[in-house]
Amino acid sequence: MTELNPAGTDAGTLIRLSAAQLAAKLAAGEVTSVEITRACLDRIAQVDGGERGINAFLHVNAEEALAVAAEVDAIRAAGGPEADALHELAGVPIAVKDLIVTVGQPTTAGSKILEGWHSPYDATVVARLRAAKMPILGKTNLDEFAMGSSTEHSAYGPTRNPWDLDRIPGGSGGGSAAAVAAFEAPLALGTDTGGSIRQPGAVTGTVGVKPTYGSVSRYGAIAMASSLDQIGPVTRTVLDSALLHQVIGGHDPKDSTSLPEPLADLVAAARTGNVEGLRIGIIKELHGEGYQAGVENRFNEALELLKDAGATIVEVSCPNFQYALGAYYLIMPSEASSNLAKFDGVRFGLRVLPTDPPLTIERVMAATRAAGFGDEVKRRIILGTYALSAGYYDAYYGSAQKVRTLVQRDFNAAFEQADVLISPTAPTTAFKLGEKLDDPLAMYLNDVATIPANLAGVPGLSLPGGLADEDGLPVGIQLLAPAREDARLYRVGAVLESLLEAKWGGPLLAQAPDLAGAPALEAQEAK
């Protein structure tokens, strides 16, 4: 694990510190929240915009973020009970995926249909960030309505991968992952329906967690597939994910699917990592054929490290995972087709009038949705409408719900044999922008290892596993635990992270190209 409080408070150092490190410096009075927040905002200004910018942010919330930072600094400076009551992460800035509604900032979901829309209410997770007094830097880019694995389906242009600007940062939460990887923000929120936190984490060399379904309130996350969606942390370290999960998690009476029990001490789990005597299960179906060689190599090395640290590696089989992708691509579009029906130009957002008469509300709705939704969204709405329509329900949606039961049974059986499961997060490293844009099916295959966790509701964590030999790009390792056992992910993840960082001699992101050092012009000419 990295040093808790390294020296230095210059902007270049601050932006590279983890949230835990920043929190320690804030508590020690070595730095102010305004300094940290300003450093992040400066970094955003430096690397996010322009032709070859990262484009992680759709909206930068500088004024409000600095105001919150100044408030925290004032409280800390004044001392007394209010200062003592400050949350550990108070003053540590964060970026929020633009699928999550925020008062005072626009929320677009990456779609034209919501362009300029301001929510009159805050998502529960946002309210909790505010309660913890964490400055919100802005809203991050995503595939439209979180539908995609590359962030290329954003109506506001793709986000670039900080490791290689011509590659995708994963999706749908490419903006949050890239913002964290490019040192624009120490923390970010993502949402994960089929891997939208974990796969971007994998391809950008960051940590991402999809908590147990119901661990974090979905209230205010614009729903794609309600029974699969889950908000989670996007960070640079396992401990930071635990810290953030602890802020946003726990029961919310506004979400009927929110778990009633209090959250376990996840931070303690991350701080007391231990794998001694732990059984770690390799899922036979989630590696090998179809997985890039460099991904396999890093995955196998991680297993060796865990074995050396005292874990027992076992192999488990989840035969029904072969149906998981198919079931996912029936359940997800079905629920999405219904959740997205409300975008109709009546109450909020875009309204487009038909070009020819008659001007009826039905035609206005259809014209609005035609103009406001991108191709991938339309594709999924049509697919979902099909899967739910009379005569097809049983064969499609009904069958997919049964597969869900089978996937759950596979997990139950696997967790009899192993305490946590392990697999590569994604079959490949980041692919090139545009490479899979015309092949939806190839794009969908990228989620093959992450989807089972969403179907079963179990938690999953992706952490950097190193760089692939053939392309030098980050590889993600995924850990999966039984439902409600999120703490196990942090316990094991923290160990694996420290073993790997010891091997690399520091965080993987230290090896990422220095964006500030590569002038935009030069890069443009190279293109």
Binding site: T257, L330, F348, T360, E362, I382, Y386, T405
Partner: protein, 98 residues
């Protein structure tokens, strides 16, 4: 399972209230046919005895007490409205006979 064709897509687009050009319908039909083909194994995966799972984590009886909470002012309600009149949302005619 039946293959999905252009007319199916046109019907689905009507149900989903998305206007589509002829060209879009053709393209969508082609793409959906591939996707539907790839997911068809799902319908044969589970036997009749396997129950459906609609919620990944089973909970029951999550209720709210019947206590009044916050409300919006009309201004707040209409803050995102594309069109409004007299504190109400304004929409074009419902029938085509004006």
């Amino acid at each position: 399972m039946a293959a999905i064709n252009r007319d199916d897509v046109a019907h689905l687009a009507r149900l989903a209230h998305i206007e589509m050009s002829a060209e879009e319908l053709d393209r969508m039909a082609g793409e959906l046919a591939v996707i539907v083909d790839s997911v068809k194994s799902v319908s044969e995966a589970a036997g009749a005895d396997v129950p459906a799972t609609s919620h990944p984590i089973p909970l029951t009886n999550v209720f709210r007490d019947d206590v009044v909470g916050h409300t919006f002012t009309a201004e707040q309600s209409l803050s995102g409205a594309p069109d409004s009149l007299d504190n109400r949302f304004k929409v074009p005619a419902i029938l085509d006979e004006a």
